[in-house]
């Protein structure tokens, strides 16, 4: 019990540090790909430290309490997600929540952004808030289909409690599917990677921030401590969504291979999990962010509703077909 409480305090803090670490890695890798040197690895930490000493401005016309509370809501909700996700170790709040809860919790930070944007009284932020909502509509659908197909696969293999995250990460989905199912899973994994940049608001789906069009969008009026909280929430959210993808599709562990026991096993699994998270983020966010530009807002919805939705339906059909044969 004490162990659990301790973990529940350590995991969110570790999540923040890991998120900031990946932000640093991401910036260096992106810089190298663009032929630049890039910032030092600890740059995101320095950014946060700097933001904390800056003046924290609340605009006169803003709805003050909403404006200042939304950054906290965003950060707390993403930190809570980490407690339900298997991070190489069993989830801290094992048995208290499942995949569906995680999906709902993932919506909260985006909603907090939208509310914060609307509350800040700036026209740029309102436009950003509307765009964020449109974007949420577009990426939630393929994400839901991806989750459903994995659950279907587990269900047809006779597992109970298919939405429980420890069941999902305890089963190797790739071993369950037949040949058509494998193709279907690969397609759905691709869709999941497609969803990640949208969920994180990275290029090419950063329409709600859109520096060059709407001046930072949702964040236009945020400064100082509030901006730092959003910055941290964004870093943790990257870890959370990538952990979800890893739990669904790459639930492999290393402790069995090396025959580790005792305390070394969870430690090794945790580190391996981090590796997988960084890999997923690198493929889905860093590379994509460097090689593409921002999509026009009118295209974001159609891009999402055309390719990932159709592809993930195809994947779902393949998986269903595979289990029926």
């Amino acid at each position: 019990m004490i162990m659990k409480v301790l973990l529940a305090m350590v995991v969110p803090v570790a999540g923040i540090l890991i998120g900031l670490l990946y932000k640093g890695i991401d910036r260096i890798l992106a810089a190298r790909m663009q032929g630049r040197v890039g910032p030092p690895l600890v740059q995101p930490l320095r950014d946060v430290r700097k933001l904390l000493v800056k003046e924290n401005i609340v605009p006169d016309d803003a709805v003050g309490w909403l404006f200042s509370s939304m950054p906290f809501v965003a950060l707390v909700s993403v930190m809570a997600i980490l407690l339900y996700l298997p991070l190489g170790i069993t989830p801290v709040l094992e048995g208290y929540g499942d995949l569906i809860l995680v999906l709902y919790l993932l919506i909260i930070p985006s909603l907090a952004l939208v509310l914060g944007g609307f509350a800040s009284s700036s026209p740029y932020a309102s436009v950003g808030g509307q765009r964020e909502m449109v974007k949420m509509m577009s990426y939630e659908f393929p994400l839901a289909i991806a989750v459903i197909s994995v659950a279907w696969l587990l269900y047809s293999s006779g597992a109970e409690n298919v939405f429980s995250l420890s069941v999902i990460s305890g089963t190797h989905v790739w071993g369950l599917a037949g040949i058509p199912g494998l193709a279907g899973l690969a397609v759905i994994f691709l869709c999941m990677l497609f969803v990640i940049p949208g969920e994180l608001g990275r290029i090419p789906f950063d329409v709600s921030e859109a520096d060059s069009e709407i001046a930072g969008g949702i964040f236009a009026e945020y400064s100082g401590r509030n901006l730092a909280l959003f910055y941290l929430a964004d870093a943790v959210k990257a870890v959370a969504i990538a952990s979800l993808a890893v739990a669904l599709f790459l639930p492999y562990t290393v402790s069995g291979i090396f025959g580790l026991g005792g305390a070394a096993a969870p430690a090794a699994d945790f580190l391996f999990h981090l590796l997988k998270v960084f890999f997923v983020l690198f493929v889905s966010s860093t590379v994509v962010r460097v090689v593409t530009g921002r999509l026009a807002i009118s295209r974001v919805v159609s891009v999402y509703w055309k390719y990932p939705v159709i592809l993930s339906f195809l994947g779902l059909l393949l998986i269903m077909g595979g289990t029926l044969i």
Binding site: P39, D47, K50, K54, G216
Partner: protein, 140 residues
């Protein structure tokens, strides 16, 4: 002392807002790009004055645009610094006898640093910024 500490954190991660209405923009662009890469020093361009630590006013300002510049400066969270870029911001430059450009930026906004040149080389900009970093290091 408090301020010195704050500034020390500030120079580790400078977010730059660029305000220009002239050839000024060409003066700063290469510093952002891959050749002179200012992100090495933790400096990135931002789009909203609320995020900015450093306001770079590039080139001449007209009677009208200086009012926007002042407004941007008021919107920035403090502590913040202002850098005037190019000879136009110091003396009016080649517009010295124009009827509608302002001649000296510091009559309107508290400028911390001028970087001369028409336009200044990227090296000059980096040197100017380095001198701010040094100043902060020395006084902390």
């Amino acid at each position: 002392m408090e301020d010195a500490k704050k500034l020390k954190r500030l120079v580790k991660s400078v977010w730059v807002f660029n305000w220009f209405n002239s050839c000024g923009f060409t003066e700063i662009l290469p510093v952002v790009g891959s050749r002179w890469d200012m992100e090495r020093f933790g400096m990135i361009p931002v789009a909203s004055p609320r995020h900015a630590d450093c306001l770079i006013i590039a080139g001449y300002q007209t009677e009208k645009s200086i009012r926007r510049a002042q407004r941007i400066y008021r919107q920035m969270p403090k502590p913040a610094v202002v850098i005037g870029l190019g000879s136009c911001s110091m003396s009016g430059g080649m517009y010295w006898d124009s009827y509608n450009t302002i001649k000296r930026l510091s009559d309107y906004i508290p400028v911390d640093l001028y970087i001369p040149g028409c336009p200044p080389r990227p090296e000059a900009i980096l040197k100017g910024i380095m001198s701010i970093f040094r100043e902060v290091e020395d006084h902390a």
